[in-house]
């Protein structure tokens, strides 16, 4: 009820240029993270993809349901059986904000740049060999080896197209130069605080320019976001289950969709740091010891789905029967530990990032109940990923998004990933992975075997898929969630009409 009043206050207080009737088409979104650089090659996923999409178009568009649609590329297809040559047909009516025209040469330049720019998602192009501008509107991409996720990548960070002249320049860090629906208003944007975007004149697809102004306000702190969205200072933002009640009471509209799975990654499958983990029975015992329902209820207020597998329902390799593969059974857990020779339990050290202590305290409690003595060691968030990658810890909690089959395999299972610090593999698994990689359209089906293998061998101890809980002011706008993505894409917001 007061949102209108606050919005009015904001309009007259000089936050926004005098907009008259168009004032209602301005939107303020609360964001959790900000881009490190506006270089499109530095884009990431989720929170760190959304801001780029306001100013950069991608080659392909990933719709809110996860299906791919034309964007800068009007059509695309693999031209060989081995699925290693991909040919895209590009739009010819697109320009970048610095005036340069978008064509196949520009697209090639972007892919080449992405490959060498050493961005956090550089691995997306690990199978990319070369790109060729056949003509102005035809781009041919050659892959070293089939990559079932490649089209998906072109809708993500790897597909963002910047002006070829700008992306290698120095200024790109601070000022984006793309072909996207909006341009950043530099003198109203402050790092660490807010970014302001206005529609770009002459954009090829005005239907994507739904707002007269978009402000992204960085609010890393959850309570600050609750305060901001309930008092109408931002129009939409991500909260969580614990704060949902407050936002609902303020009359905000709630969206809820699963994205990340959370659980323990039992890295040390060869027992290098924690010998007990070498035994599959011990890893299974950990899985049986977890009371997932209690965790979900106590920590996430039930907003999610318990699971025993790491592949998500939309991944293509999801197996409903694995959902409750390790139902809560502490007696069985103790039995398995006893069988493995650890009847009196063992010590397990887990790294503890800030903010996760509630969850891990429960995990510690539940594992302790079957005799596994968990020691939590605080690790700053800044060091958390690198600590995991160094193999200091035999197991660790993490929250990871559930991508398509091959994305998930690449992220979690292959020996080269950060989340496999001990490079564990077996010949059997390797064969399954190879088959999946080469499966083409059958990637999901083949991936099910990988899923079954890692679940049965208890490579992980997943807890649940937690729901993203997103709130927005329905009087001002309408939001559709983006599947498998932490926050909606810019295309998912529209004014409330």
């Amino acid at each position: 009820m007061s949102a209108a009043a606050v919005a009015g206050l904001s309009a007259c207080s000089g936050d926004a240029p005098a907009g008259g009737s168009s004032a209602s088409k301005e939107v303020v979104l609360g964001i959790l993270q900000e881009p490190k650089s506006w270089n499109p090659a530095i884009a990431h996923v989720g929170h760190l993809l959304q801001p780029y999409q306001f100013v950069y178009d991608s080659l392909l568009l990933r719709k809110s349901d996860g299906t791919l649609a034309p964007m800068l590329a009007t059509s695309w297809k693999y031209t060989d059986d081995a699925q290693t040559v991909l040919e895209l047909t590009l739009r010819t009516d697109v320009t970048f904000s610095d005036g340069a025209a978008f064509d196949a040469t520009a697209a090639k330049a972007n892919l080449d740049h992405f490959k060498v720019a050493n961005g956090p998602q550089a691995a997306m192009l690990q199978n990319f060999e070369s790109a060729t501008a056949v003509d102005a509107k035809t781009l041919r991409i050659k892959l070293k080896i089939a990559d079932p996720a490649f089209e998906y990548y072109l809708s993500q960070a790897a597909g963002l197209m910047g002006s070829p002249a700008a992306i290698t320049g120095k200024d790109i860090d601070l000022m984006p130069v793309g072909s996207g629906p909006y341009i950043m208003v530099k003198d109203q944007s402050v790092k660490g605080s807010q970014y302001v975007f206005t529609p770009r004149k002459g954009y090829w697809n005005p239907s994507l320019q739904k707002f007269t102004m978009v402000t992204l306000k960085l609010l890393a702190d959850l309570t600050a976001r609750v305060n901001a969205v309930t008092t109408g200072q931002v129009d939409a933002t991500l909260l969580d289950a614990t704060t949902a009640q407050q936002a609902n009471a303020a009359g905000l509209k709630e969206l809820s969709w699963p994205v990340d799975w959370q659980g323990l990654l039992l890295f040390d499958r060869d027992g290098k740091v924690a010998p007990p983990l070498k035994d599959v029975r011990v890893r299974q015992a950990i899985n049986y010891a977890l009371n997932r329902d209690a965790l979900l209820k106590n920590v996430a207020m039930g907003a999610g789905t318990v699971t025993s597998q790491v592949f998500g329902p939309e991944s293509g390799s999801f197996l409903p029967e694995l959902e409750s593969r390790y139902a809560y059974d502490p007696a069985k857990a103790k039995q398995l530990l006893s069988d493995a020779g650890y009847a009196s339990g063992f010590d397990l050290t887990l790294p503890l990032p800030p903010g996760i202590e509630t969850l891990l305290n429960y995990v510690k409690q539940q594992l302790g109940d079957v005799g596994i003595r968990v020691n939590l060691v605080a690790v700053p968030i800044a060091d958390y990923q690198s600590t995991l990658g160094k193999g200091t810890y035999a197991a660790a909690w993490f929250s990871l998004f559930q991508g398509p089959t091959w994305v998930a395999c690449n992220q979690l299972i292959v020996p080269s990933t950060l989340y496999n610090p001990f490079k564990s593999t077996t010949p059997e698994l390797k064969a399954l992975l190879d088959a999946t990689q080469a499966a083409g359209a059958q990637v999901g089906e083949k991936g099910k075997a990988v899923n079954t293998y890692v679940t049965e061998n208890a490579w992980f101890a997943p807890f649940y898929r937690v729901n993203q809980i997103y709130f927005y002011d329905s009087k001002k706008l309408k939001v559709t969630p983006q599947v498998q993505m932490a926050v909606p894409t810019p295309y998912d917001y529209e004014p409330a009409s």
Binding site: S13, A122, D187, A228, T231, Q233, A382, S386, T387
Partner: protein
């Protein structure tokens, strides 16, 4: 007087240099894995190593220190690891807000605390006890508690002020006033009573001086004695109290900015610390210490000016 100022200036620069060296060594001797953190989980080991090289993390500490110092003499403090922004720019963007808050707060503390302190010193009795009780209360409540209570009451419940800052680069005065009222009040509350108590002591000490009695014996009105003579004599002590308050406000602003999501130096310090953005942390330390050095210099000069022994010689 000029020599006096020059001496203090040199001392300040030396202090800055020492603090810079110590902070640099403290920060950078333990930072090994920041490249992985910058690059994210999908980056390959090779690209992480490349990043580390790009940041100069493979150089010996002392050579990094000397190159930092050399850059610093040109007012270049490196580039943020996480936002690619020059540290100078990042801080320059945020400094005005923080300085505004701190300066407004210190001015208000100065005025209110002087009023309270003088009242307590002259009236004694109930006024004195009230100031003492306030001082104990204020010292007992950490800044974050005050901040949270102010947000809950005045922003969430009463909606008189915004819960989080609405300040942007082109915001008008109205936005600044609205967004900064609660934070400044929160900042002040902790300092005001303590400063009042110290000003009270300084004032009483001067009231007990022999010359006050002699002035009274000369028939000078009490009000003139208090405000022309005693207040002036107590001013150096009061200024010193305020300069210490200023230093503590620069720390307190960290908490307050975080609670009110204000884009100032304090929230920059917190986010840089959380991320391990060492160039920014380093820059924030140097800037705040430089500000303190300047403020202390101003206070020294003011005190020197107030003291005829320094001024006249």
């Amino acid at each position: 007087m000029l020599q006096f100022i020059a001496k203090r200036l040199v001392a300040g620069v030396v202090a800055l240099f020492v603090v810079a060296c110590l902070t640099f060594v403290l920060l950078y001797s333990t930072s090994g894995d920041v490249a992985r953190n910058i690059m994210g989980d999908q980056a390959s080991a090779a690209s992480v190593a490349a990043k580390a090289h790009e940041l100069g993390l493979d150089q010996p500490l002392m050579s990094r220190l000397s190159s930092w110092l050399w850059q610093a003499t040109h007012l270049q403090f490196g580039t943020s690891w996480f936002t690619s922004q020059p540290v100078f720019t990042a801080i320059a963007n945020r400094l005005p807000l923080t300085l505004t808050m701190v300066c407004v707060a210190i001015l208000l503390i100065g005025v209110v605390a002087t009023f309270l302190g003088v009242t307590a010193a002259v009236k004694r009795g109930a006024a004195d006890r009230a100031v003492q009780i306030m001082a104990v209360l204020a010292a007992s409540l950490p800044g974050y508690i005050v901040g949270i209570v102010l947000v809950l009451v005045f922003a969430i419940q009463l909606r008189w002020f915004p819960a989080i800052s609405r300040i942007g680069p082109r915001s008008g005065a109205a936005v600044w006033v609205a967004s900064l009222t609660l934070p400044v009040v929160a900042l002040m509350l902790n300092g005001i009573a303590g400063a009042a108590q110290q000003i009270r002591s300084a004032f009483i000490k001067q009231l007990e001086q022999d010359y006050v009695r002699t002035l009274r014996s000369r028939g000078i009105p009490e009000r003139e004695i208090l405000f022309r003579h005693v207040l002036r004599a107590a001013a150096p002590a009061g200024l010193t109290v305020l300069s210490l308050q200023f230093i503590s406000l620069l720390g307190g602003v960290v908490i307050i900015e975080s609670i009110f999501a204000l884009p100032g130096l304090g929230s920059l310090a917190v986010s840089a610390t959380t991320q391990g953005d060492l160039p920014l942390v380093m820059g924030v330390v140097i800037y705040t210490v430089a500000i303190v050095v300047v403020v202390n210099l101003l206070v020294d000069v003011a005190n020197g000016w107030l003291n005829p022994k320094v001024r006249v010689s």
